[in-house]
């Protein structure tokens, strides 16, 4: 029995036990359901072993939505706890765990998965490709992300959650102050999903550089593809830094090294530096694809081509470069001289310039456009003023000397939510609504969607704007409660109310999926939005080979040209198509990584060794395997196309 003691949760509460039961019941329900409806085979063949970028994209997005609800539940708990002074709904330790898992889940497992899911689904279609450069590696990326996400999410019922914040600063995250296995979970969950992300980065750079349709030069790529290319370059350069930081953190916690300790020559600030050398580029990894989505949506619904294409590309390149030169702004107050602070202050403020250029380009795209106020467009229009407020408060934070006042207060919390929610989350919802018909063949209901938008936007303002005020008044972040005398009570209550509106918005959005699934018409055609780029030239649902004939491109809006200016997209005749085979290896490999991570978290070395051998076994198997994919014969393509009424 002693062996099992380690899995007990250190700070149990009725809520956690209830979640355990809920998790157990859901798992049992899923297993019974799949068995009863005889869906195991279907699930395995069509989804778990798929290497199709569209399906992998959808699995990313579904996982991201699940994580959004996990992180959302954490958020509501935090707002509930701080809604009134001296509240006792959560104690300090629980509050620590909740804000930590909230941050990690939202950034790593929600936002990252969402943008990578979008890239997966959209990029190959936008460039006229049949899949990504390394389809099997793509599946491995997804399943590693999934393994990492699951590992992180079981922490609160097995062994205890991490509790040192998503930034996980040492020495707080060391064994002295974080005694449970929680931070070990942090290390391995991020490590495993981070490896997957790095491979995604490589995969998409090669895909975009090498697999574009004939005629699509770099400067004729749709803007979302450009944003994906730049994002993936940032990924490739930023993620290895995290890999090493996590490795050193693991060694410190589990092998007694002194990298980040304050004794024996260690240096705790090294963690903070490494973390933010990755962390700041990471926030741009999140926002650039969002910018890409806004560019697509705003051009489509203003019915004009994007204003300032070259400056859009140039500003993204500049942002990606500068994103590596600003990391110190996260710890101005932690003991640098004025020179260092001054330099990083200036680089940080400078990064607002290319961002501003983009804002003006979107505004000028809408200028004189015939705007259609659809749901994706509403999110894009809402994004512009709200994100600008976030940017301006960012510049305020960037002034090093002033930062001494609001560093680590609710003001900071308001700032980064102000850029992440109207920036990233709005973009994801805009993109999801926009590409939904391409994914599923029907539209989401516009009326419910608009209600969702208004609830989310107003809820956002009510939830976060009060924090600017309490933050300037000195309310510290990550504090589980405050006293009556501080006077923070009413504004925090308002904030809780706003969070409630946001929760309603997400429920509306989910309800919309259900409603539209039941009631939306199915024959929406391949181009329901009257859009401009190549993905809309495919039939609905997109056949697994995407394009029967490789399109020929002459501009960044080839599809628009084919509709309006007589450009002929599909000139060549149908030939047999080479496609990759499905494979069970990725999910098995990820399962082994999960076992590896889990065993490592608890220091169960036999498990670690067996899983590691299994992982190497999979790799060895792969190198000897002969797998040249398969061909789809011309007759089959023509038949499919006839059924779907696609390419001429």
């Amino acid at each position: 029995m002693e062996f099992f003691d380690r899995f007990a949760i250190p700070h149990p509460s009725p809520m956690i036990y209830a979640s355990m039961v809920a998790i157990g019941l859901v798992l049992i329900a899923i297993v019974i359901g799949l068995t009863y409806f005889k869906k195991w085979g279907y699930l395995w063949r069509e989804w778990l072993t798929t290497v199709d970028h569209k399906r992998i994209g959808m699995m990313y997005i579904i996982s991201a939505l699940l994580m959004l609800f996990r992180g959302g539940a954490d958020a509501v708990m935090m707002r509930l706890q701080t809604a009134v002074p001296d509240n006792t709904f959560l104690d300090a330790q629980h509050y620590n765990e909740v804000f930590t898992t909230h941050g990690v889940v939202m950034i790593i497992f929600m936002a990252m998965a969402f943008i990578i899911g979008m890239m997966n689904f959209v990029v190959p279609l936008q460039i006229g490709a049949r899949d990504v450069a390394f389809p099997r590696l793509n599946a491995i990326s997804f399943w590693l992300y999934f393994a990492g996400a699951m590992l992180f999410n079981i922490s609160f019922v097995i062994g205890g959650s991490p509790d040192a914040g998503w930034t996980n600063y040492f020495p707080l995250a060391g064994t002295e102050f974080s005694e449970t296995v929680g931070v070990n979970y942090y290390m391995w969950a991020l490590q495993i999903s981070g490896i997957g992300t790095l491979m995604t980065g490589i995969n998409f750079i090669v895909t975009i550089l090498k697999m574009r349709a004939p005629g699509m030069t770099l400067m004729k790529m749709p803007m979302f593809t450009w944003s994906a290319l730049i994002t993936n370059v940032i990924i490739v350069f930023a993620f290895p830094v995290l890999t090493i930081a996590l490795l050193m953190g693991t060694l410190d916690r589990q092998f007694g090294t002194h990298f980040f300790a304050s004794t024996n020559g260690g240096m705790d600030m090294l963690w903070a530096n490494l973390f933010w050398v990755w962390g700041h580029p990471e926030v741009y990894i999140l926002i650039l694809p969002a910018f890409g989505i806004y560019s697509e949506v705003i051009a489509t619904f203003s019915q004009r081509n994007l204003y300032g294409y070259k400056s859009m590309v140039g500003s993204m390149v500049l942002i990606s470069f500068m994103s590596f030169l600003v990391w110190v702004h996260h710890f101005f107050t932690m003991g640098h001289g004025p020179l260092v602070n001054g330099i990083f202050s200036i680089t940080t403020m400078a990064i607002a310039v290319p961002t501003g250029i983009k804002i003006f380009n979107w505004l000028l795209t809408m200028w004189k456009g015939k705007i259609r106020f659809t749901v994706p467009m509403l999110y894009s229009i809402g994004f512009i003023p709200l994100f600008t407020i976030g940017g301006v408060t960012g510049v305020m934070l960037a002034m090093a000397s002033a930062d001494y006042q609001y560093h680590n207060t609710m003001f900071l919390v308001a700032h980064f939510h102000n850029v992440i929610i109207p920036g990233v989350v709005f973009a994801m919802l805009a993109g999801l609504t926009y590409w939904w018909p391409k994914m599923f063949g029907f539209m989401l209901n516009e009326r419910i969607g608009k209600w969702g938008f208004w609830f989310l936007s107003i809820g956002f303002c009510l939830a976060f704007f009060p924090m600017y005020i309490t933050g300037l008044d000195g309310q510290a972040r990550r504090m589980y409660t405050y006293s009556e005398e501080t006077g923070f009570g009413p504004l925090n209550m308002l904030s809780f109310f706003g969070a409630g509106l946001m929760a309603i918005a997400f429920i509306l959005i989910v309800y919309n999926v259900y409603y539209s699934f039941r009631h939306s018409p199915r024959n929406v055609g391949q181009d329901p939005w009257n859009a401009r780029s190549l993905e809309w030239a495919t039939p609905n649902p997109v056949p697994h080979y995407n394009f029967a004939v490789t399109p020929v491109v002459n501009s960044s809006e080839a599809f628009w040209d084919s509709k309006k200016n007589g450009h002929q997209l599909f000139k060549n005749k149908t030939e047999k198509i080479h496609m990759p085979n499905n494979s069970g290896l990725p999910i098995i490999l990820a399962g082994l990584f999960f076992v590896f991570g889990f065993s490592f978290v608890f220091g169960i070395w036999p498990g670690v060794i067996i899983a590691a051998l299994g992982i190497f076994g999979c790799m060895a198997y792969r190198t000897f395997e002969k797998d040249n994919g398969h061909y789809i014969p011309v007759e089959e393509i023509e038949e499919t196309e006839k059924k779907l009424g696609g390419a001429k």
Binding site: F237, L251, F259, A261, N264, G265, M267, T623, K626
Partner: protein, 198 residues
């Protein structure tokens, strides 16, 4: 599969070209990985705590030996790829085999070196300096170990299947990997050992 006969076999298909480009990008990531290790090393170099410093424990002989062995192996893998280009299977296998043997002896010396550190009291737990030293060397060593298995598997594949677009592509990529590890070693040699001994 379209074969392009004007290119060497390892570049002959689209997929092959993408594999090679992808691997170059991967090496870019590896540069960041080792770059981070070096940056951390320079930060913690003087954090010896109560343990010994580099100057006190580094031994020149094994380090020189390791350097010579690894540099030679970089040369022989180059010869192997050259032999592959002129379609000489026997020579390719021979040079690849020599490369792997050299890699193995490199590891042997490195193990000796680690045992030496253990005896003079430099372990992972001694100080921040010892930890980053062993982590950096260990990461490089782990890469070499991984490369040994990978190279062995490629050896077996060439032996069995001869030169195909796949086997030549894998060999070429492996050679990039091996050269890269050599370059990393040169940095380790210059900035960890030489600088530390001065």
């Amino acid at each position: 599969m379209k074969l392009n006969n004007t290119e060497p076999l390892e570049y002959s298909t689209n997929q092959n070209q993408m594999n090679i480009l992808g691997f170059w990008i991967f090496l870019g990531a590896e540069i960041m990985l080792f770059g981070t290790l070096f940056a951390s090393f320079f930060t913690l170099e003087n954090g010896v705590g109560s343990g010994p410093s580099g100057a006190e424990v580094f031994e020149i002989t094994p380090v020189i030996l390791e350097t010579v062995i690894l540099l030679t192996s970089s040369f022989t893998i180059g010869l192997a790829i050259h032999a592959m280009r002129i379609n000489n299977k026997k020579a390719t296998l021979a040079f690849l085999g020599i490369t792997l043997l050299l890699g193995l002896s490199f590891l042997g010396v490195e193990v000796y070196e680690f045992i030496h550190y253990y005896h003079v009291g430099v372990t992972l737990q001694t100080s921040a300096f010892s930890a980053i030293l062993l982590t950096t060397l260990g990461t490089h060593g782990a890469h070499v170990t991984f490369g040994l298995f990978w190279g062995l598997f490629i050896f077996l594949q060439i032996k069995k299947r001869g030169f195909t677009p796949e086997t030549t592509n894998k060999s070429f990529i492996f050679s990039l990997y091996w050269h890269f590890l050599d370059v990393v070693w040169i940095f380790i040699f210059s900035f960890i050992y030489l600088k530390g001994m001065m």
